[in-house]
Amino acid sequence: MRRLLASLALAAALCGSALCSSAQAAPQVAQILPSSAGYQPSDAVEKGLWLEMDEAERQIRASKFLIDDPELNAYVKSVLCRTVGQAKCGAARIYLIRTPQFNAAMAPNGMMLVWSGLLLRARNEAELATVLGHEFVHFEKQHSLQSFRDIKAKSDAMTWLSFVPGGLLAQIGLMGSVFRFNREMEKQADMAALDYLGSSGYDPMAASQIWEQLRGEMEAQAKANKAIAQAEEGNSFFASHPNTKDRMEYLRAAARRKAPSSDSGEEQYRKAIARWWPRLIDDQVKLNDFAATEYLLSGMARGNWTADLLYARAELYRARGKPEDIKAAERFYRQSVAADAQLGESWKGLGLILLRQGKAIEGRRMLRQYLAIAPEAGDSAMIGAMAKEPGK
């Protein structure tokens, strides 16, 4: 029932693709840009949009999915500000949403949603800046409003959003879909975002790199499961950002024309999300999406498997639990504790995987290692019982 309500909240018809991609740049009357302070919606259509978005924002502010860590929020905001400039970034109100898929969107009223799956996938600040900048351009150029008006003018078959209670997913789905941009808008956003990377001194190659990685993830998934590949194409973000190969190429070519920079902000980025990383990867592993997660982890490691990454990989294999996975998981846990002996969770995983294989004595010893490192863990009572020698 709960599931159905969620679906109903999202229930929607897609407009014909001809209709969707037909938006022409509407003749623009000279006006204040929405990124400047004090901008107000101008007509009934825009006012209706703002009203709905303000309501959505009210709900998101109270949402249980909001990551309200002030440090992390301040960091993401600072990346946007460096990217688009201090003068403009004030127009954006960023909300970090705990959802493991890759997505970001910005509403015409200045609300910007960043899914935690993006934070997990970006490998450095420049990649994050690419996506934030891209969404900001859509906002700045009023792309959503343009396509909205255009579709309204072309047919009466428009509009959206009912009042279904709650409906965070609905709101986000709505943003990814109502604001479906045509190819020119996408390209415009890509190129302007690249300009932002250039003007803010980030490595311009990051723009093509993040899409390349996403493309790879989708392909890995596709190989694992044809049906998944199709569903994946339906991801609201990818659906409106088609032809990834093409875009990687034009982004790469354009980046070569920019002044090269080696500043990708990898170190800062890693530090900034370090506290959240275990939760983000945990969310991903628990999606039970083996192929995509395996690809993702390899992309993050790029040959350099840290203790954290090894732990995540071991968890992924243990969760799938095929006989050959058990062996692989044991190997990864061992490598993980060898790389960082203080990673309690890896000791626990190693203990569990040994117990699963009947290696009880060593398994219990590993569990006790875990308890020594994390005596206050929520599962310490259960693990403690499992770690106890029989008959004692």
Binding site: A6, A11, L51, E52, S162, G166, G173, G234, N235
Partner: protein, 242 residues
């Protein structure tokens, strides 16, 4: 990763439309009062009106809903004004609680679940829970006292109204028409109101109106809507219906 849901939900909704068309629901009851509840015979009845949940817009030719910001502003002020007037006639002292705090947000979320459950399992007889037969005892719990501890009120009132004015008869409207059991008054107009004990959190009264009328953008329309939403409102001890 969202479109999968969209398609399935669309299908689910269309499939669901079938049986609804075929057999209109038997509306057995549209409001309920907690067993034995009446307002005290004397003294002031102080009611806190939580920021009403209002949706208003236009159903377009394609049968879809578009929010109208200006209508929204008008409807909000007219409905609140009409509620004040209606309350005065009933001898209630109503104050508006317009700010959303954490306690209100969480109880509002719980309230939505409770109303959905009450509508589904009690009113209208669609999916009855045997344990609720002959009783109406849903509650939000005593945590409601945290919503407005300073407020000078014993009761809280939730109000929800949805209005869509349609430009032409559409599938969505037909669906609504079927749900309402026939009459189509040009769009979909429905809402509910509920009274909550601000001490215990008990739902004292709930009224759901699926075939409301009146143009809530006007004073007269809003007044008539409020009367519909307040149908079956609890009486004072020793008195009949106000």
């Amino acid at each position: 990763m969202v479109r999968g849901y969209l398609v399935s939900a669309l299908l689910a909704a269309l499939v669901a439309a079938g049986p609804i068309h075929a057999q209109s629901p038997v509306v057995t009851e549209k409001s309920a009062v907690r067993e034995g509840f009446v307002f005290p015979a004397t003294g002031e009845v102080r009611v806190l009106l939580f920021r009403p949940d209002i949706k208003i817009g236009e159903t377009t030719t394609a049968g879809l809903f578009q929010t109208q910001a200006e209508w929204h502003g008008a409807a909000r002020s007219e409905l609140v004004g009409a509620l004040r007037a209606a309350s005065e006639r009933r001898g209630l002292k109503v104050s508006l609680h317009d700010e959303e705090n954490a306690a209100l947000t969480e109880h509002r979320a719980l309230f939505r679940l409770v109303v959905s459950a009450a509508i589904r399992h009690k009113l209208f007889g669609r999916d009855p829970l045997p344990s609720k037969s002959g009783t109406f005892d849903w509650s939000l719990g005593s945590g409601v006292a945290r919503i407005a501890p300073q407020a000078d009120a014993d009761y809280g009132l939730f109000l929800f109204s949805h209005d869509s004015f349609e430009s032409a008869g559409r599938r969505a409207a037909q669906l609504v028409t079927a749900l309402m059991g026939g009459a189509n008054n040009g769009g979909a107009h429905f809402g509910y109101a509920a009274l909550v004990d601000l001490g215990s959190g008990d739902i004292l009264w709930l009224n759901v109106d699926l075939k409301a009328s009146g143009d809530v953008r006007t004073p007269e329309g809003a007044a008539s809507r409020i009367e519909q939403l307040l149908a079956g409102f609890p009486a004072r001890a020793g008195q009949g219906q106000p």
